[in-house]
Symmetry: C2
Subunit: 129 residues, 2 copies
DNA sequence: TGTATTTCCTACTAAATTCATGGGAATTAT
DNA sequence: ATAATTCCCATGAATTTAGTAGGAAATACA
C-alpha cells in the first residue's frame, strides 16, 4: 500500500525538471537527486513514453518537461510509475476475480481509488516549487 | 499501492465472522472462504493479537468477533494486516528520510494517508452484510 | 570527418516482500 | 484418553521491486 521508490524518484525528478527551464542531462539529474543512474534512466524512458517528459538525444541533449508545471499532476506521474495503482486488484481486473459480482467490498475499493485519484490530481508540479 | 491478498483475506474473513453468531473453527472458515488454511491461521493470529477477534482454544473452539460488527471498521482491519499502510515510507518513518525537513512532497503524502484512512473508517463490517 | 556526449534498447542480477507450507506443543469438550 | 482445536516457530516458493551492464543510435561541434 506504499508508493514505490520508483514513484518517489519520478516525482522528485519531475519537480527538479520543473525548477529548470533548459534540458537537463540524466547524468546531472541522477547526481543532483542522488538516484542510481541506470535506474533513473529506465524511469525517464517511461515518463517520455507517457508524454510527460521530452527527451533530446545527442550531445547537449537531456530531458525537460513536455508541458508547463501547472499542467502535470502527481496523479499523472504516479499512474506512469506505479505498476498497480489501485487499492484492490479486484477493482481493476474484473475478470481476474470470480467473486466480483457478489463481492460486498468492491464498492469500497472503488471509492478508495476515487479518493486517492482525486486527491493526487489536486497537486501539480507548480505546487511543489 | 495495492492492498495485499492478506488484507483482502482478512477483510473477507471478518465479514464471514460478522455474519455468524457462534465461534467458527479455522477449518471451516478456510474452506468456506477458499483461503489456504495455514496462511489464514497466521492472519487470525494477528487479528486476535490486535483485539479484533476472540479465539477459543480446544475442542469446539474457533474464532468470533471481539466486538459488534458496527464497531469494527475496514481501517481497523487493514491497519493490522498491511505491513506498511501509508502512502509513502517517508510519511511514517521520519528518521529514515534525511530529506524530511526539506521535502516538498511530504504534505501531500500526509494528506493522502488522511484521505485513505478517513474513507476506510466509514465502512464497518455491518455495511458489508 | 571524427569525437565526445547524450538518449535508447535489451538483457540480466540482487534484494526484498508476499504468499504460503510443515510439524508439533498447548488447550479443552466429551 | 481422545479428538478437535488454537498457538508457536521455522522454512520454502513465488513475485515484485530495485539496481546493473553493455552497447547501439543520435547529435553538436571542432
Amino acid at each position: 500500500m506504499t508508493v514505490s521508490a520508483k514513484g518517489r524518484y519520478a516525482l522528485r525528478v519531475m519537480i527538479a525538471l520543473a525548477a529548470r527551464e533548459n534540458t537537463v542531462p540524466l547524468k546531472e539529474l541522477a547526481a543532483q537527486e542522488e538516484i542510481p543512474y541506470k535506474f533513473l534512466e529506465s524511469i525517464m524512458t517511461e515518463l517520455v513514453k507517457a508524454g510527460l517528459v521530452t527527451a533530446v538525444r545527442g550531445k547537449c541533449g537531456g530531458y525537460r518537461l513536455a508541458n508547463p508545471p501547472e499542467e502535470c499532476t502527481a496523479a499523472d506521474i504516479l499512474h506512469v510509475t506505479e505498476t498497480s495503482f489501485t487499492a484492490s486488484a479486484c477493482a481493476s481486473d474484473k475478470k481476474d476475480c470470480p467473486r466480483a459480482e457478489i463481492c460486498p467490498t468492491l464498492p469500497m475499493w472503488r471509492a478508495l481509488d476515487d479518493a486517492v485519484d482525486s486527491l493526487l490530481k489536486q497537486y501539480t508540479l507548480k505546487d511543489f516549487l
